[in-house]
């Protein structure tokens, strides 16, 4: 089945930030209910990768009775192949700050945090300057909302929302059991809205132009545009804003080097799509009736025929083994075993059937690991081993 959505460039995110004061004062003069309805009708889904409906997230926290609530911007951008959030924070920080304050107004929070990954420490001075200017304006319009930066210290897992709260509370970044969800029990046990940087930038667009402008982009179940971080074997690596729903074939036409063998959609925790499936794969959230839809936090890594898929998988597994928090056994031991397993097959110490055993182990991790990290190792593992089995063996 061939999907024929064309690749459409969009230019919302990095444009038109200048009237943020206007957007902020107009938005906070509206009722929380109106703003939530606006977000819900836009059908915006979280842009960090998981794709939870943003309007619903805000609504759930707004319904909690607590006096203290928090708004957190997740800027712990650590997925291999993604680099869009840094660009947003350095080019249009006021969009993010404005949306955080509007969220505060909607749910009844007076404090916001930006959890910034340690690797982006150099962003801090400029971002702090923007925050001061922003808070100065908030004071002028009598809006009681403070934003602070919280620095991470080099841990991929802290991008997982509950691990991020643990980290902010001064603990090891180990994910919590869910439920309870952050909307009722988040940072310091208080109702918390936690959104990805790009999600907040999109809510700015929605509050500025109305839900329809956003909803009109994309396809059913995958509305709006999205930033894509393009890297690997491509003549034009960089950040591109595209409408959701495009086919991978069109994407490769635009960004490939003419010899694209496979594309990793969604980073190391996403899926590897081989050339034969480019036509039937669309980029968007699940639920479309035709073909396969792959959600993504925006990481698109292209590999040409000079690349060994064994080396790619080996690199991912080493990444996961190091970044696993070690809290639950399936992930801690599973990552180690998958890595040593494929090496043993490659060296000929184990036969090819051992790969099937490893596939079952990956599947077990998918069902039994505590958080998204351990659960998603199977995505890249199975899609690479299934499609490039001979490269794993010889």
């Amino acid at each position: 089945m061939t999907i024929s959505y064309q690749l459409k460039r969009v230019d919302f995110i990095f444009k038109n930030e200048n009237d943020w004061e206007d957007v902020l004062s107009k938005s906070i003069s509206r009722t929380p209910q109106e703003l939530i309805n606006e977000l819900i009708s836009s059908e915006l889904k979280g842009r960090g990768g998981a794709g939870f409906p943003t309007g619903l997230k805000w609504k759930l926290s707004s319904e909690e009775g607590d006096d203290t609530k928090y708004v957190i911007c997740n800027a712990d951008e650590g997925e291999p192949g993604t680099f869009k959030d840094r660009e947003i924070l350095s080019r249009v920080p006021f969009k993010v700050l404005t949306s955080m304050a509007v969220c505060g107004h909607v749910i009844g929070a007076k404090e916001g945090y930006i959890y910034l990954r340690g690797e982006y420490f150099f962003l801090q001075p400029e971002l702090n300057k923007a925050i001061s200017e922003f808070e100065y304006y908030c004071k002028e319009i009598n809006l009681d909302f403070k934003i602070r930066i919280f620095m991470g210290s080099g841990a991929y897992i802290c991008g997982e929302e509950t691990a991020l709260f643990e980290s902010m509370e001064g603990k090891r970044g180990e994910p919590r059991n869910k439920p309870p969800y952050p909307s009722s029990y988040g940072y310091m046990g208080k109702p918390t809205v936690i959104n990805n940087v790009e999600t907040l930038a999109h809510t700015f667009t929605i509050f500025k132009y109305g839900a329809k402008r956003f909803y009109d982009l994309g396809v059913q179940y995958s509305r709006g545009s999205k930033l894509f971080s393009v890297s690997g074997d491509t003549p034009k690596p960089g950040i591109y804003e595209l409408e959701l729903g495009m086919s991978l074939a069109d994407f490769v036409d635009e960004f490939g080097d003419g010899d694209t063998k496979a594309v990793q959609v969604g980073g190391a925790s996403g899926f590897l799509v081989p050339r034969k499936r480019f036509n039937e794969t669309a980029i968007g959230f699940q639920g479309k009736l035709t073909g396969i839809s792959l959600p993504t936090g925006g990481s698109m890594m292209l590999f040409n025929s000079s690349r060994s898929m064994f080396n790619v998988l080996d690199n991912y597994l080493e990444f996961f083994r190091e970044e696993s928090c070690g809290q639950c056994t399936p992930c801690r031991v599973g990552c180690q075993q998958l890595l040593s397993g494929i090496k043993a097959v490659k060296r000929g110490e184990k036969n090819a059937q051992y790969l099937d055993k490893l596939m079952r182990l990956a599947e077990t991790m998918q069902y039994t690991a505590k958080c998204g990290l351990g659960q998603s190792v199977a995505n890249s593992f199975s899609s690479i081993v299934e499609n490039f089995r001979e490269e794993m063996i010889y």
Binding site: P80, Y120, F122, G154, E169, G170, G173, S229, G232, P237
Partner: protein
């Protein structure tokens, strides 16, 4: 009083003495000292009235909170997929050759430490590395030699002071 104890006291005054202030305090010590010694960790535990094991547990979780003595400039070169594909190994060899150390080691004069790290978020400008908090991208062996020479001169300058 020990200068590290002073530093820890100041950091605790600045950030607070609750559990949720622990990470900024650990980061503050690392910024000054480049690593967390056992002494620093027990001092922090005392200052915040926490079990030392809790401080140790938190500190050792994060890859940027070193707990062994580091050089004044910590080089962290990205080893994740795109940087690896785009010539990270040649850059790493150039660094090892120039500084005469391997990954995980520190130069005898205590100026440079060399580490590998996971995705720095500069895949479109690979290979990339950090020296302390500064980012360098689109690296080649030639480029990295120039960068390190600049740092070596910086070191000379500060010795003159």
């Amino acid at each position: 009083m020990n200068p590290v104890s002073d530093l820890i006291k100041n950091l605790a005054d600045q950030h607070g003495r609750s559990r949720h202030n622990l990470l900024p305090i650990l980061q503050g010590v690392v910024e000054q000292e480049k690593y967390l010694s056992e002494f620093s960790m027990t001092e922090i535990a005392r200052e915040l009235d926490l079990p030392a094991a809790e401080v140790y547990g938190t500190a050792t979780f994060y890859s940027f909170l070193e707990h062994k003595k580091m050089g004044r400039y910590i080089i962290r070169i990205c080893k994740t997929i795109t940087c690896s594909m785009k010539g990270k190994n040649q850059v790493l060899l150039a660094i090892e050759d120039m500084l005469k150390i391997n990954v995980g080691e520190t130069t005898p004069d205590g100026t440079f430490s060399l580490l590998q790290t996971n995705c720095l978020g500069f895949c479109h400008k690979a290979p990339a590395m950090l020296i302390n908090n500064e980012v360098f991208t689109d690296l080649t062996p030639e480029k990295v030699r120039d960068i390190l020479s600049t740092y070596m001169k910086k070191k000379g300058a500060s010795y003159d002071n």
